[in-house]
Amino acid sequence: MTNSTLVIRGGLIVGPLESFVGDVLIADGRIVEVGPGITAPSGAVEIDAAGCWVGPGFVDLHTHLREPGKESAETIETGAFAAALGGYSAVVAMPNTEPALDSVAMVGYVLERGKSAAVDVAVAGAITVGRQGSQMAPIAKLAALGVRLFTDDGNGVQDAGLMRRALTYAQPLGVTLAQHCEDESLAQGGSMHEGASSSKLGLTGRPAIAEELMVMRDIELVRLTGCSMHFLHLSTERSIALVIEARAQGLPVTCEVAPHHLTLDETACETFDPEFKVHPPLRTASDVAALRAALRAGAIDAVATDHAPHTPESKDMAFDEAPPGMLGLEQAAGLTLEALGGAGADPQVFFNVLSRGPARVAQLREQDVRVGHSAHGGAVTVGEDANLVVFDPNASYVVDRDSLASRARNTPYHGRTIHGRARATVVRGRLIQLEGIIQ
C-alpha cells in the first residue's frame, strides 16, 4: 500500500494563505499534483472530498501512549489507530511512561516501535531523570537522537533553580522545554479546580494560581536564559494573557490548549464522575470562553489533546483516588471546530491550531531521517510529503466509549454529539483511515 496512488477529489484545499476547491494526486508518498480536474492514473484510489476540508494531517503535541509500562491502558499501536481516526498524521509521545523516557535506550525503544505505527511517532524526552525533578536527564544525548521537546509532563518542574539550569543547558541545543505548569505546593494534591464547585463538593481544589504562578516564573526564566519554551495545556484566562504578553515582548514562548478545556467546565465534576478529573483541572465557564476567544483570535499555537488513557478499573475509584486524565485523539478535531464556532469557522485557523502550529512547535516541519518521520504541517503543494487529512465539518456522530480505537474508554464525551469528523487520513501517501475504519 505504501506506494499506492490516491486522488482526493473536490475538497476545499486549505493552504496557509489561500483556500480553493480542487483535487490532490498522491503517489510514492508525495503530493504530485494539485489542481482542478486531475486525471488520475488507472488503479488510483479515489477519495470523495466534496464538502470537506483538505489540509495537512493533524499533529498532536501531547499524546500519552502509555507504552512501555501501562499497555493495559494503551499501546503505541492502539494510540496510533486512535490518532489516525482523529485525523492525525503525527503524534508526540509524552515521556511519563514506566520507566520514563529519560534515556537513549527508552527513547530509542519508543521511536523504534513507532516506526511500525499507523502514524508518525515523535518522542518528547524527560527534563529530569525519572521525572523526579531533581537531576537533569541526558538532554544533549537525546537531542542528538532527534528529540526536540523535553518535558516532565504530569508534573511541572517544581524547583526553579533546576528549571533555570535545564533551560540554560538546553538553549544552545536548539530544543524546546515544555512545562506542565502547576505549582504542587499550591495545587495541594487537589482533584479539581478550586472554586464554587470544589467548595460545594468538599473536594480539595487545584487553584488557578497554581498554574499561573508557574507560567509567570517560567516566562521570567525564558527571559533570563533565552531558551525556547512551550506551555502545555494552559487552562486559565490569566495564563493565556501572560503568554500573549511575553510573546509580544519577543520571548520565544508558545502555548497549547486542550480540547477539554475548550468544551467542559468545573461544573462537570459535580457528578463526581472521575472521567472529568484531569490536571490541570476543568476551569470556570469564563475561562472556557476566554480560551475560545484566544483560539479564534489566533493567539494559541496549538490545540493538543493530552490524550491520557486509563483502564476502567482505575477510573472506577473514588474521585480523589482516581488518576487524572481523559482520552482526546478521536474527538479533538470536532471539539476544536466547536470551539472555533462550528462549520462556519475559518478553516485556516482550524489547520493552524491542529497541524501547522503544533508541527512548528515540535519541529516536525522538516523530514528527519534519524527518527524516521516525514514532514508535517506543510502546505498542500507539489513535492510535499503526503501527510493529509480530509475533514468533514458537517459530519456528526454520537460518541460511544465502547467503540473507540483506543484501548481505554475514559472519554468524558460519551453520549455527546460531535460535529466534524476526519473522513480520511493519509500518512506518507498511504490511506490509513477512511470513514472511521483503519485501512
Partner: protein, 330 residues
C-alpha cells in the same frame, strides 16, 4: 429540589427541599417513642437487608445506624471494608458489585473520599444509598439530627411538639457554626439544613479554615467571634482535626483555642438560652472546654441519642419507600 426521600437515596442535603427535611424530622419524632419502649422494635423493615459499609472507620455513626436498622427489624450486613478490599486495590465499583451480589436493599456507607456514595448510587441504581459521611462533602444524617435536636429543645421550651411546629421555630433563628468549615462535611450539611429551614447561619473561623469562595455561601462570616457568640441562639462547634493544627492551617492548636475555642470565659458571653452543639468526637480543651461541654447548655448527648430515631426515619423512608401515611409502627 427533592420533596421527599421516600423510595430514594440520601447522599446530600443540598438537593432536599424544606418539605423533604421536615418529613424526615416528623418521621423521626414518631420513632422516638419506639426507643423508649421495653421492646425497642418495630417490623417496618422486616425482610430488608441493609449493608453497613464503612470504608472509613467510625464506631459511633456505624453503631447508630446499625441500631436504627435493627429497631426497624432489618437484617444488617456489617462489612469491615476498610481493612479488606481497599487495601487489596479493589475498585469502588467491584466492591459494591460484590456486596450487591449478596442481595441487599440498601447500603449505608461512609468513605474518606467526597462523592463516593454518589458514584455507588450510579453503580447500583436499584440499591438505596444512604450517605453516612463522605470525605469533606456531606454528612446528611448528622445535619438532620442536629436540626431535629434544635427543634426538640425549642419545641419543649415553647410547650409544643416538634411535629406541630414544622419549621416555624427556625424562622430567624441565629445559628453560629465555629471552626474548620473548610474541611467539614458536617458544616456543609448543617448549613444546608438550617438555611433551608429558615435559620440565619453565621460562620466563625480563621481564614485558612474557611472555603475560598465563602462569600458565595448563604452565610454571614463573623468578623468578631465574641460578638457573634453574644447574639447566637445555637452554637455548633466542629471537630478540629489535629493535623490541621500542626502549622498547616493554624499555627498551633493552642492558638486556635485562644482565638476560636469555646472556652469557659467565652461561654459566659452566651445568652442563657443558647444551645451548644458538637457532632463528636470532641477534642476537649481544643474547640471546647470540658466544663462547657458538660454544662446544661450543651446538648451533645441528646444529639447522639437523637441519631437513632433520625436514622430510623431515613432508613424507613428510603428503604421501605413509604411515608408517614402508612403507619411505621404497625
Amino acid at each position: 429540589m427533592i420533596d421527599s426521600i421516600a423510595g430514594g437515596n440520601l447522599v446530600s442535603l443540598a438537593t432536599l427541599s424544606q418539605r423533604a427535611i421536615v418529613e424526615v424530622l416528623d418521621t423521626a419524632e414518631s420513632f422516638v417513642e419506639v426507643n423508649s419502649r421495653a421492646v425497642k422494635k418495630v417490623p417496618a423493615l422486616k425482610g430488608k437487608v441493609i449493608a453497613s459499609l464503612f470504608f472509613e472507620e467510625s464506631t459511633r455513626t456505624r453503631l447508630s445506624f446499625e441500631t436504627a436498622a435493627k429497631r426497624l427489624s432489618a437484617d444488617v450486613l456489617s462489612l469491615a471494608v476498610a481493612s479488606s478490599s481497599v487495601k487489596k486495590g479493589e475498585s469502588l465499583r467491584d466492591t459494591i458489585n460484590t456486596i450487591d451480589a449478596l442481595g441487599i436493599d440498601a447500603v449505608v456507607m461512609r468513605h474518606s473520599s467526597s462523592g463516593a456514595p454518589v458514584q455507588v448510587s450510579r453503580y447500583v441504581p436499584h440499591v438505596r444509598v444512604i450517605n453516612a459521611g463522605d470525605g469533606q462533602h456531606q454528612h446528611p444524617t448528622q445535619g438532620l439530627l442536629d436540626a431535629f435536636t434544635v427543634r426538640q429543645v425549642l419545641a419543649a421550651r415553647a410547650g409544643t411538639s416538634g411535629r406541630e411546629s414544622g419549621s416555624e421555630l427556625f424562622a430567624g433563628l441565629k445559628v453560629l457554626i465555629v471552626g474548620d468549615i473548610r474541611h467539614s462535611r458536617v458544616a456543609r450539611s448543617d448549613i444546608e439544613v438550617y438555611t433551608r429551614l429558615g435559620a440565619h447561619v453565621t460562620v466563625a473561623a480563621p481564614g485558612t479554615l474557611l472555603p475560598s469562595d465563602i462569600a458565595q455561601w448563604p452565610v454571614t462570616v463573623a468578623t468578631n467571634f465574641d460578638e457573634a457568640l453574644a447574639t447566637a441562639d445555637v452554637v455548633g462547634l466542629l471537630r478540629l482535626q489535629k493535623e490541621r493544627g500542626s502549622g498547616a492551617f493554624v499555627p498551633s492548636l493552642g492558638e486556635f483555642t485562644s482565638t476560636y475555642g469555646l472556652t469557659a470565659r467565652r461561654a459566659k458571653l452566651l445568652r442563657p438560652e443558647a444551645i451548644i452543639m458538637h457532632p463528636g468526637p470532641m477534642n476537649r480543651g481544643v474547640e471546647i472546654d470540658s466544663q462547657v461541654a458538660d454544662s446544661s447548655a450543651a446538648v451533645i448527648e441528646q444529639q447522639v441519642r437523637n441519631g437513632v430515631p433520625v436514622r430510623m426515619a431515613v432508613l424507613y423512608l428510603t428503604t421501605a419507600g413509604a411515608t408517614l401515611e402508612s403507619d411505621p409502627n404497625d
